[in-house]
Point group: C2
Chain length 323, copies 2
């Protein structure tokens, strides 16, 4: 959560001059994004009425080759009426360009705030918006493999090793066995789409119960829609403080989703296992981050056990939840 690169006012003005958005009025580095630097930019707009944008500099973890997929998907979904920010193309038509070896993109600013204690009516709205996004992604020309799939989760946990996992928490090594089971799950026969794959509350902008923006598509990929639903369920269906299941929010995610796109029988049957696999992604990535981050580092490490607890919930109650 930082701005990693300093861009001076004069550099920003030059960058903005490459777009048909008027002249620079204001630029504030914003404390969002862990793998990129972001500025909230205000310009005079091309009709003088003022306009706002997010300027994103991709710092790490992003493959340049993935940018046409990520940014193109924003444009595709935005053109189809989904609440996602569209990419502003420069005067040459490019959706991103390079500055000192790093890619930069100018992205539409959307209003809204991310709920930290989601309510059921918000979860309902997010479920419906997710389904609309899945349907709207139809016809998008590009595809991208999921780099955080079930097999990748297993590989990450194996890289941490039993001893490494045990050094974080005594119960973590026991997650290797379920990760092996999940890695054998084949989702390729389920309905596919472009999926967000990381739709936590902080990646959703809302005004009241209305979704004004789905943002941060940098894990988006081509995959099973049921996986996206399961990840969203795992992200929205638990109380952030107590980590206990919130039936009202969890069921609202599914109800909202199905109000737009009913699940197939095959999806419904597999969802308990998919949800368990979805939680393992965060167990694995957090365990890796934990071992990579020195004890005395200033950043807060996220506890992988939070999602072990959610895995256990789905293991016990998944059949009921997705019945």
């Amino acid at each position: 959560m930082a701005v990693y690169t300093h861009l001076g006012a004069e550099q920003l003005a030059e960058l903005i001059a490459q777009y048909d958005v008027g002249t620079l009025l204001s630029a504030k580095g914003i404390a969002e994004g862990v793998s990129n630097s972001n500025w909230l930019i205000e310009t005079t707009g091309n009709n003088g009425a003022g306009a706002r944008f997010i300027l994103t500099m991709y710092e790490r973890r992003i493959e340049l080759g993935d940018l046409p997929y990520f940014l193109g998907l924003l444009d595709h979904l935005s053109n189809r009426g989904c609440p996602v920010p569209r990419t502003i193309h420069d005067r040459t038509g490019a959706s991103f360009h390079m500055h000192d070896g790093k890619a930069l993109a100018l992205i539409e600013f959307l209003p809204g705030v991310s709920p930290t204690r989601p309510e059921p009516d918000q979860a309902l709205s997010v479920g419906a918006t997710l389904a609309r996004m899945h349907l709207a992604s139809d016809g998008f020309a590009l595809s991208r493999a999921n780099t955080m799939g079930f097999a990748d989760n297993l590989a990450l946990l194996e890289k941490c090793g039993e001893a490494g996992l045990a050094s974080i928490h005594k119960d973590l090594p026991a997650m290797l066995a379920p990760a092996r089971s999940a890695a054998r799950l084949d989702l390729s026969s389920l309905p596919q789409a472009q999926i967000h794959a990381d739709l936590f509350p902080d990646n959703v902008l809302m005004l009241g119960s209305q979704v004004t923006g789905l943002i941060d598509f940098y894990f988006a990929c081509t995959g099973a829609m049921a996986l996206d639903l399961a990840t969203t369920h795992a992200a929205w269906g638990f109380d952030p403080a107590s980590n206990s299941y919130r039936e009202d929010c969890g069921s609202a995610i599914i109800r909202g989703y199905e109000s737009v796109r009913p699940l197939t029988d095959a999806e419904r049957a597999l969802l308990p296992e998919i949800a368990k696999g979805a939680t393992l992604r965060f167990v694995a990535s957090r365990a890796e981050d934990w071992l990579d981050t020195p004890d005395d580092a200033l950043v807060t490490r996220k506890d992988p056990m939070q999602f072990v607890s959610r895995w256990r919930f789905y293991d016990e109650f998944g059949a009921q939840v997705f019945a």
Copy 2:
């Protein structure tokens, strides 16, 4: 440069509801301020046209007892047409209130960007705006002592100690003698006002050569106007990359200032010594920060020698510069 405190969307909405500014539309933590957390806030405005604000949470280094001075000065100057952000008072009339033991203030958002390579026409404008601010501060009811005066600089350097200073750079201990001389300077007979005392380019918002905002008044105090001019001269008159004197910018600061408020003979005569004292403030505070910051910390330490070099410039050429 970080947001130190997490405020959730619901907490922000509750905070904003205490002001007559409409409802919350957007909130982004911004990467500004070293001793406070800041959010760029958008609301519907009280006439529905939309409005923007900076919400500041004071984290450290600020004495609560100083807030009425800092925030009251913004209002006083803003009411007199100075380009400073006014404080938004809540429905009870308060300019700040407490949240979890920390003070919060809602402050007007001003457009503009801070120049990183100031040009002479910008320096001219800043000099004139500084003089206007000094004159406009007349009649402000409160006062505040300078906590970073010449005697404080000396005390800081003495706290670092000869050995500590030498561990940073072999030439630093030699600054103790000039700091002792500066501490004997008495500025109390020079014309006094409320002064900004830290008017570096990153505390000025500009559009082209127009000053749209003087910000970050958290070193403001009651003191000699010549000290503020000297500090501004030391901050704007040197090339940020090479650290060499830029006669065009330095002379523009003075010319701009005098276009609004001509210096007295007594000020002009003392300015070379005052400028040397002004540079010692940054030598002292940077030396202290350097010794307080571990070598492997993630923050960038500012080099005190940058201002030793500026001290040397004023020692040699100050009489010419302020002739």
